[in-house]
Amino acid sequence: MLIAIAQGFLPAFTVPGLAAAGAAAISIPIAIHLLARRKRKTEPWAAMRFILAAYKKHRQRIRLEQLLLLLVRCLIVMLAGMALAGPQLRELGAAAGLGGGRTVYLVIDNGITSSAPGKGPAGPAGTGGVTRLDELKKAGLAVLESLGAGDRAALITAAKPSEALIDPPSSDIATLRREVEGLSASAAAADLPAALDRVMTSLEREKRATGMGFVVLLSDFSAGAVRMDKALGERLRNLGSLARLVRVTGAGEAPNIQIESIVPGATVVYSESPGQGPVVDWQIKLRRFGTSPPSGPTTLRLSLPGEPVIRQTINWAAGQATSELRISTTLKQTGPVALTAALEAAADDGVKADNQRAGVVEARQKLNVLLVSRGGGQTAGGRLTPERWLRAVLDPVGDPLAWPIQVHAHDPGSLNETMLRGMDVAFIMDGQAMDAGGWDLLARWTGEGGVTWVIPAAATITGAWPSVMSQKFGQTWKISPEATKEKEPIRLATDGPTPEAWTRIRSDLRDLLSPVEILQRLGVEAATIDSHTQVLLRTETDAPILLSAPVNLGAGRLIFLTVSLDPIWTNLPTKPLMVPLVHETMRASLNGLTGAQDHHVGDQPELKGKLGALSSLIGPDGKQMLLVAVKPEKPPAGGQEPKDPKKTEAAKPAVRPIRPLDQPGLYKGGDEILAVNIDSPAANTMASAEPVISSYLATAGEWAVAEDGKMSEALKLAEGKADMGWPLLWVVLALALLETYLARVVSHAGAAPGAGAQAQTPGRAATAKVA
């Protein structure tokens, strides 16, 4: 064993023989010490009682002094030998098992593609075969195996959200090993930028010496992990200067089939005709990954609550990568309804987690519309009031039972929360009659998932309410308080792109827009219209007529028509555009509300609207997921408060899951449903070419590629060796000085003979102390 230890140490010296000689020379002072003990002359002694008393009192101290002196002498001899042998510090540390004080950041990609079959023994993943994650874990364990007692390591996972399982770096290798062995593949996307960002943060915090840190990135580098749309951030540009970067080679491709998307025609649907449930058109896309996927069938099962399972078979042609399926379903219930789709097991499917997907729509039997107006059917001039025009558009039949839109009317002065409860769209026909409290209430309701459509009253002078409205809804619009009368009727612009809201009337849109004339309007300064506001209608002179803006980050929507529905303002009410304009804009606005959007595994989304009022969700596994209130954003340090505090008033309750949504499926709370699906592009199991991987990671610096089984070599410290010869010689010199001092102390050379007794007078003597 001693030979093995010596063999481990000796390569750390330039001249190993001298080091060995130094070690052997330790025996010299020991031998001298032992021989000096043996060679003693025996003397008879009379004053033995005093010798014995002194000996008992000082025996321990004398022995300790002598041992200390012997130790120092041994050290001098040994270190002198080592110093002359030219020791190299880092190799010495490594040989001693100290590892040279390396800090290794182990980043393991346990994203969705890590569950695909690896390059190891044959056999599909999940049936006892080796997955890519198994191979990455094995490489990670090899890294940990190569670390010495003086090394430390941190463990960071790359599946979204990236998690630091052990950070700051720890020298507890056993715990690190347990954590690596316990890793499992996530259904979330790999987020290499976020994982490396964590490493960067830790490295900056550690402030370790350059060259002593290592970042070991273990990933399959599939196309789903190396996504150019998620490039490494600029912050990582210095990563390579803080640590040496090491990665493995990418895994090969693996066949995979996935449900790429489920998209309903509209996220909020309502019955088109009485007695019938809303009809939803679903678009389902499937994708296959692989260089040349074979031909063959794939069975898809679709299920709606209370409906029998629908089985659809897709017959793939050889090499076909995508397939699209459209089905139409009639919903028999209202509220949130989820369509779940699942692929039946296929042999050439590398990743199982992307074989299911869900889409959610909000089904409503009737659309509840609130008209906030002071009422009155006709103006003094006998004209129809704007409210009458609008009511005619919303409920042309006049039979609430036979029409899917139910109109409720209320006076602006009595507007309260109860009236707004259950409403989908609120039309404000007389803004001047609304007080500030009413606008507050309306803005809050809109922020929780409503659509508010504001239309000026017929009066030419409007007052200050447009500004109040703009403020309460958090908009930047600057609206003139008085109508701008045009000298000549102005027509609506017919050129330009068709807004997405009017896709269904795109073909007739030009004909519908052409006859509409604007006589007067409320001016909105173009410069105050921000990028979030969509101008749906504008005049030929580019004056905005219909504006649509998200409220509370898209949870609700505010629509503002700058003209009153009165012939003095415009002929719009009398033109064919009026009906499709109101219906399509309403439908598109409801569809576009973010409350129905789906989320990806690994997200920790901010939930608003009806979901924002919940305190918990039940996950796909039946476990409860608590929702916590989102704290309002604080102003940046040293910054100013928002100019308009009312701007945030609409941002009412929002919650966030207490932890990331880590499972795909449906999360339910009360009547609400949240669909959580895998991030489809992240499940791309195709291999990334080495140049692509290098290019993707190049932002962080130069990466050394470790071949299989050669990870420990990649972790060797830099070539620059620290010669410890001179420092050791200085230590030897210091020890020599210490030895001289100790030898003087131990030998008591200062207590020279004669100092203890002095002749006082001839024939009489007294000891010094007696004298």
Binding site: A47, M48, F50, L52, Y55, H748, G763, A765
Partner: protein
């Protein structure tokens, strides 16, 4: 060119010289003769009935003590007063315990140079034991005492009285004492308590007891013994006889010390232990001194490497002082 060394009287009293002489009687004579020769230059002369002072005559005084010469010169009657000399009982107690058999390796040669003694060289010499020093001193002291018409006696002791010579002033007394001193130390420790008890029981008169010993005994035992001597109103001089090596502990190399009174053997580095040893020895000496001070006894440390002359001078001075008391 080196001049042949001229020996002085004191040289004869030096242990270096004495160690060359065999026979205690001869040694004692050398000591005394050397001492007496030196006395011609010393202040210690005229030990006899001698004049002390005058005082005015008062009626009734003995007319034989009138100083007629003073009357003739001054016409005043002055009476001569004399120091009344008294014979003493002198007991010399010599320790013959095992520890007294110790002889150091070196004897310091002291050459007189004016009034100062200076160590000029250290040379090996014959074995000069503490016991030798004590017996030579005892023989010389007894000789001087007898010469002063005192009654001299001798005690040789270790853990008990080994020999006892009754005090006497007869002509043959000195030879008897010298014969008694021709013994060798025994392998027994000193036991001053017991010795003092036995000595007290043998002494009939108040005596001056001169003890020559290293006093390597328990402090309390020694104090108890001295207290009994003090109780019987004996006057005691303790001459603590120690070898120079014992006072200096000048060993250099590691060695094993073997106890002379069956204390066993100890391996040690003498330089490491020197300070502690001297502290222990000094503590012992201080204890003896404190005891002597308590009883009004004399205590002196006698270095066996030093000449005996000063010791004898001190002895005579103390004797004179005791007579005047």
């Amino acid at each position: 060119m080196n001049q042949p060394a001229v020996k002085t009287a004191l040289d004869y009293l030096h242990p270096h010289t004495l160690s060359q002489v065999t026979g205690i009687e001869l040694r004692a004579r050398m000591i005394v003769e050397g001492f007496m020769t030196g006395m011609h230059r010393s202040p210690y002369r005229g030990y006899s009935v001698e004049f002390a002072e005058h005082r005015p005559y008062t009626p009734g005084d003995d007319l034989r003590h009138l100083d007629w010469k003073v009357y003739g010169r001054t016409d005043k009657l002055q009476l001569k007063q004399y120091v009344q000399e008294t014979n003493l009982d002198m007991i010399l107690a010599v320790d013959a315990s095992g520890s007294m058999g110790y002889a150091g390796q070196t004897i310091r040669v002291v050459k007189s140079r004016g009034s100062q003694g200076k160590v000029e060289q250290v040379s090996p010499a014959g074995q000069w034991r503490k016991f030798d020093h004590a017996t030579a001193a005892a023989a010389a002291m007894s000789y001087l005492a007898l010469h002063q018409q005192d009654r001299a006696g001798l005690v040789v002791f270790a853990d008990k009285l080994l020999d006892f010579v009754k005090p006497s002033s007869s002509r043959s007394q000195w030879r008897t004492i010298v014969d008694a001193l021709r013994v060798q130390p025994v392998d027994q420790p000193t036991s001053m308590g017991r010795v003092c008890d036995e000595l007290v029981s043998r002494l009939r008169h108040r005596s001056v007891v001169v003890i020559l010993s290293d006093f390597f005994d328990d402090d309390n035992t020694l104090a108890a013994g001295l207290s009994r001597l003090s109780h019987r109103r004996h006057d005691v001089m303790l001459l603590q006889t120690l070898d120079h090596q014992e006072l200096d502990f000048g060993f250099q190399d590691p060695l094993s010390l073997l106890g002379m009174e069956a204390e066993g053997k100890v391996d040690l580095d003498p330089r490491a232990l020197r300070k502690a040893y001297l502290e222990a020895l000094n503590e012992h000496i201080q204890s003896i001194r404190a005891t002597c001070r308590k009883f009004g006894f004399e205590h002196e440390i006698v270095d066996t490497s030093m000449p005996l002359g000063p010791l004898l001078s001190e002895f005579l001075t103390r004797r004179g002082a005791k007579i005047k008391k």
